[in-house]
Symmetry: C2
Subunit: 367 residues, 2 copies
């Protein structure tokens, strides 16, 4: 048996967990830079929970609330410059995947000067500001990964910055922050989490332990699909989805993702299709391809889901996601050319060819 | 849902994993103190794998091979003095629970002066030498916990030193080191691991995530009980047991143990009964007590084990452990007086009274 496991982030989950665990923030530093988006953290209560806790602790803070969806390289350099200007000695990220991913790069760039051309090289010191993360969506899993995924205009896709010291020190999981989410965002993020756990399970790097966690995550999310459809989610349902998405993060931290993510990045980059939705659109077609060569793995997933065939999963996912976008074959050809170069492709137990990628795209978008 | 999870130790499992991951030792320091027992590490190949790797890395080392079974406070102070004398800047523990538990205290005491009377107080700085652990039995789980359990003559029992910075930095799991173990040691350590996972599951601090891992561990160990009986263990079987015991460590790192451990410590302290065997002797009687108040939890365990009643588990455990020792009622009375004071008692979802502890002891030893 071969296995590696490393997940150094302290996870604290529960209602009002930030306020109840103020010491976990206290020990991180004297002045925080709060990295977030422009609005949602202030609406859902997470921002005030953080600032109230910092006030109680007597810790100062500055706010960088300029993180957009699919954050850019400019954005993280701007955030890092602001962290230095404000003498912040730790980072608090609040938000969905975008603020959390940006915050990791900011925590890194605030500590050392890395030229833009080296940002994705991994060639830098193991020096980073301490980080506390507060997810306000249940999808990305970024609160427990070493990945910072940034929009890379040079490569016309999203590129991953990864280093073992980019794991947050602590993550606070409180599902009350998700109650303000719209139905569409709730669905897209849940499907993103499902995709993480399924892709991890179908990765060449999956191991006994990540498979246990991935299957647990998958079982929980599939149980919530009907609630998602009806949008009748109790706080406990929201907690279940948050827990499952964090498990999804834990497993992709070990295994990475697969062709689904590689292909999805183009849909997001060129068509502004939400990241979770993009994964959801592509997921079952990729699973059908895997099923041809590794029916055993797909069978295990279906048993855990309580389905007898992939068509059942496909049916409920597309019911949740609604009509697909209009994309031309020429566009899909060019996306396939980009996706085939991604590292995630050979990371799947089945590594699609460029033609197979195109076929998946065409099947999804019916062209 | 409330949940906390923190397991910062990097786990590297696989054949020859030390040699293949020499960099994971390299980054820990310049000179190691190897903490081990007098013999087994040299016989089972782990000692030479470590020293060969250090040689390749150009790292120096000194050896402290005086750790006895159930290590004493004297032993860890002596080890720490030796670490200082040798200017060791990191610790490598090789062995079963005793060297690993001693190594954590040595790593702590080598960094700061702690008077003996404060050793179990927790009142010290978060300063400790980096640690790499190599278990050579599959039972204790110490390679992934923050616990150092020492023989405490003042309290006439074993006492736990615990701190979040006592997690090893890295643990190497290679089941080839277990092939030299006798049948008795293999059984006792496997039953110790089973007890950890069962006790964690029956702890007030268990949570959704620790329960998933505990059940996984339990399922694996129970599948190996027949192989243990016949002592027909392949290397893969040994790997399964090692993996399961590490999972057991991961879960007790979060939940602690229960009355089983409190009671077992007296059997070890006064009667020199092996730690794992002591837990095994007591485990099913404790589970019977829990079953009266929380049949749901025992049912979940039995389903995972594939048994219909606790008697089936009891039967195979006692078949493995053989005849029980002779202990008088008076002795058991005094053990009950000691055990009832332990912190582990109220840590179970059922906290036995002093009389119930005595009844468990009496049922086990048939007096």
């Amino acid at each position: 048996m071969n296995l590696q496991f490393f997940m150094p982030t302290r996870i604290i989950m529960g209602e009002d967990c930030i306020l109840k665990n103020a010491d976990a923030l206290y020990k991180l530093g004297k002045k925080a830079l709060i990295v977030t988006g422009s609005k949602s953290a202030k609406i859902n209560g997470s921002f005030s929970d953080v600032t109230n806790t910092l006030d109680v602790n007597g810790q100062e803070y500055a706010v960088f609330d300029k993180v957009m969806a699919n954050p850019t390289i400019d954005c993280v350099y701007e955030g890092a410059a602001y962290a230095k200007k404000e003498n912040a000695d730790f980072i608090i990220a609040i938000g969905g995947g975008s603020p959390m991913d940006a915050a990791k790069a900011i925590a890194l760039l605030a500590c050392q000067d890395i030229p833009r051309e080296n940002l994705f090289s991994g060639e830098y010191e193991a020096k980073v500001l301490p980080m506390a993360f507060i997810p306000t969506t249940a999808g990305t899993g970024s609160e427990v990964t070493q990945y910072s995924i940034l929009t890379n205009d040079a490569a016309r896709t999203k590129t991953t910055l990864a280093a073992p010291f980019l794991f947050p020190d602590v993550s606070f999981l409180d599902s009350k922050y998700m109650e303000a989410l719209s139905k569409v965002t709730t669905i897209n993020t849940a499907i993103d989490a499902l995709s993480h756990s399924v892709e991890s399970f179908l990765s060449v790097r999956s191991n006994t332990l990540t498979e246990v966690l991935a299957l647990e995550s998958i079982g929980i999310i599939v149980k919530q699909l009907e609630n998602l459809k009806n949008f009748t989610l109790t706080r406990e349902d929201r907690s279940q989805l948050l827990y499952a998405s964090t498990l999804g993060g834990m497993v992709i931290a070990h295994t990475g993702t697969t062709a689904v993510h590689s292909m999805g990045y183009s849909l997001t980059y060129f068509k502004a299709i939400d990241h979770g939705r993009a994964n959801g659109l592509l997921l079952t077609e990729f699973m059908k391809l895997v099923e041809k060569l590794r029916p055993d793995k797909i069978k295990t997933l279906l048993v855990k889901m309580g389905y007898t065939s992939l068509l059942e999963l496909e049916s409920i996912i597309f019911e949740l996601l609604g009509d697909t976008e209009s994309i031309t074959v020429e566009e899909l050809e060019s996306y396939s050319d980009i996706a085939i170069k991604a590292k995630n492709i050979p990371n799947g137990i089945v590594a699609p060819t460029r033609e197979e990628l195109l076929n998946i795209y065409r099947a999804v978008f019916k062209v």
